[in-house]
Amino acid sequence: MIEIKQLTKQYGSLTALDHLDLTIKEGDIFGYIGPNGAGKTTTMRVLATLLDPTSGQAFIDGLDVTKKGNEVRCRVGYMPDFMGVYDDLKVFEYLEFFAAAFKIDRKKRQGIVEGVLELTDLTSKKHFTVDSLSRGMQQRLGLARVLIHDPKVLILDEPASGLDPRARIEVRELLLELKRMGKTIMISSHILSELEEICDQIGIIERGKLVFDGTMDEIRKHMGVHSRIKVEVIGDPQRALDVLSPMPQIGSVTIEQRALTVTFSDGQENNGFLAKALVQGGIDIVSIEPQKLKLDDAFLELTKGIVN
């Protein structure tokens, strides 16, 4: 659905995007992650036809974004990382204005606006002026706006920034609902752990280059990070460490706050073997808990601290 080939964007001597290649499949939620200034927003602006690339190509639904701007805009709903508001418009008028801007037939507009208001749970706010809404409500209104012309692709630049935890969960639920509706969603965020739970695919960008693109499992494999298991035992954990360390199946064992963190040398999780080895060594076990690699860890590992 989205295809980027050798995309480069330069601002004077600064290279924001450096021969970027990226493909997003139809119906996927793509999480776009990178440090500040890595080129996430620039990519999104190019895809939203608001910025011309220096070189390279980008396609949405097979349409070149630089050549078929108007057709692309019909298929894309772009929500920038800021909320553009009109002081005097009410919520309903704001959405109807954009419905008219997308040339939706006047007779259908009211129904469509009511529909997106309901979907985004803003029906009770339709009489309010846009600038009187709270930030969370404004973000929801932004999402309502990008849905107004029923685009196939949603490009959302940090839609959860500045929201409280409840509002973030609501946005996440809304995005999952949109995925169920068949939308292809490209989303950037600094709330990395939230993307982990909703994204089918993750892209990590740094200094204009994609340093990784794949699923979470692929990230784990790519990084060669073995699954870790947290083990809590009764008594001195040093005893458990002495039992496990000599075993060839065990990759590493460390003690962290009276608990052991264990990895296997073949990278697999084998809780049964671990339990058996500890019991045979006379260690009483409180719990064995597999620790998944979090997106934050992957982000930190992959970007190696080169944060602008």
């Binding site: 602006r45 036809t49 894309v76 553009g84 005097d88 801007a101 006047r106 009489h127 009187s132």
Partner: protein, 582 residues
Amino acid sequence: MHPTMRHILGGFWLTGPIFDKELRVSSRRRRNYLLRVGYIALLALLLSVVWDSTVVSGYSDAYSVSRMARAGQEMVGLIVWFQFVTCQLLAIVMLSTAISGEVYHRTLGVLMTTPINSLQIVFGKLFSKLLQLILLLAISLPLLAIIRVFGGIPWGFVVQALTITLSATVFVGALSLFYSIYLRRSYVVIIVALITVGVLYLFIPAFAALVVQSFTNYRNFEQFFSYVNPFFALVFLQQYTFSPGSVPWQGGHHWLVHCGIMLAASAALLAWSVARVRLAALKQIAGGAAAAQPSKKTSAEPALSRPIESVHGCPIRWKEFRSPLLGRYRWLVLSMSLLLLIPLLIVYGYVGAEGHLDDEFSHMAFVAVYMGLGMLFTVVIPATGITSEKESQSWPVLLGTTIGDGAILMGKFWGALRRCLWAWVPLLAHVLIFTLWPGIIHPIAALGILLVVSGTVIFHIGSGLYFSTLSKRTTTAVVLNFILPALMWLLIPMLMFFATELAHTSNNFAEAYVDSIPFIQSIALMEGGVPVSGGMRYRGPYMKLNGVEVLFYLVVTTSMYGAIGCLFAWRAKCRFRKNIFG
């Protein structure tokens, strides 16, 4: 020196770190250096014109030398008036963002969380900008010193004139700063400050002159205004210095009293500003920049007073036509307009009672004032069209829709036209009434005014939209749209006349150019079209036309301005998608 004394004399207690920060920032701004270069270049150009017309006139060297003292007086007069007008205009522009800029960047509330107090904010802002203006005054001092060599210019005059300029600059600067506390947009501050200065310096004295001269001695009136009005003060200082005896009441310390009054008025405005700035900051802290506006609705108070309106036609045009004509200040604007309407009607009544209603000079004066008013708003409003979208961050969102660039342009054009037109109502009403009033304004002159206004409006809307796409901030676009007519209708004619003087050739071309200036055209139309019994004749600086020839000529110039306006608008459309994110 005792530390306390050093602290007091250092002035830090008054300006705080604000002054230091402002100076640091302004030293990094290229425009301040450009301003100084432009200031000196313009001053040098004006002086060259005066020099050429006074001294170098093809006569003998002995005659030229004998004219030196006269040239010196005229040049010093020019420098003094140039400084007087320029510094006040720059003070209004520079201080228009003093507090509103802090509110816009949401830093006023942050400042209030530090030990910096309101006094330091107000005076830090004022003095840092005044220092820039003092620098401008200082860089022209060497010119004044050189010209003094020509003789005939006492130092006292130079010092007194500079002091009057400085006190007037402090006053208008304080006024602009005061308005910037209440008004969020700096171009609104500039307009309101200009109108206030116009009312204080021109309208009130003119109105008072009409009323007072019937009851009291005119000299008393002049004397009073020379104390409270810097224009009067400077005029009489000049007269007193170069023609002693022409102003009998002007004494040695008269200018000091005037400066004292101006500084006292400035102090009152600044004291009020100090008291209000904290409230503005608290409002911002309480609810963001938007909450600084008292009439804003809060989330707890839905705007139910107005029903939801359905979008029809082009959405941009719908939005433009839907926004209230006078905005949130409509009651203030309406009440101020009504307040000004009363003395205006008295002026009309007085002119009528004196039998001057069929006098061309009365109508030239009225039309000049109304043209100025109309042009002021027509220069400002279109320049806000795109930048207001950029400032509210809705521009990229709008360009992300399928609305065509042409539709956006036309929507903005009609929106600007709608908001500009009311500023032309006084002129059109005046012309219409006195055209229908038999025997006063010739119908051809009325039609001519309509053509002149049409051309001017299209021209300014086009250029305003262009500068609005070019600029990130509204104030920049507005200033650029002010500079364009100043260049076209002031500087270029001046250069033309200067060039013809230097080349000792005919200035027909320059006069023909001046003839095409809308302001001059409207004045010439009144001069030639009042009263009707004189027939329609047009006597511009170059064009001498009769009857329908005038209309033909005006159709040509209007089409020319319209075409330039359309060209600007087309360029604006071409720039819509360039540098969208500034």
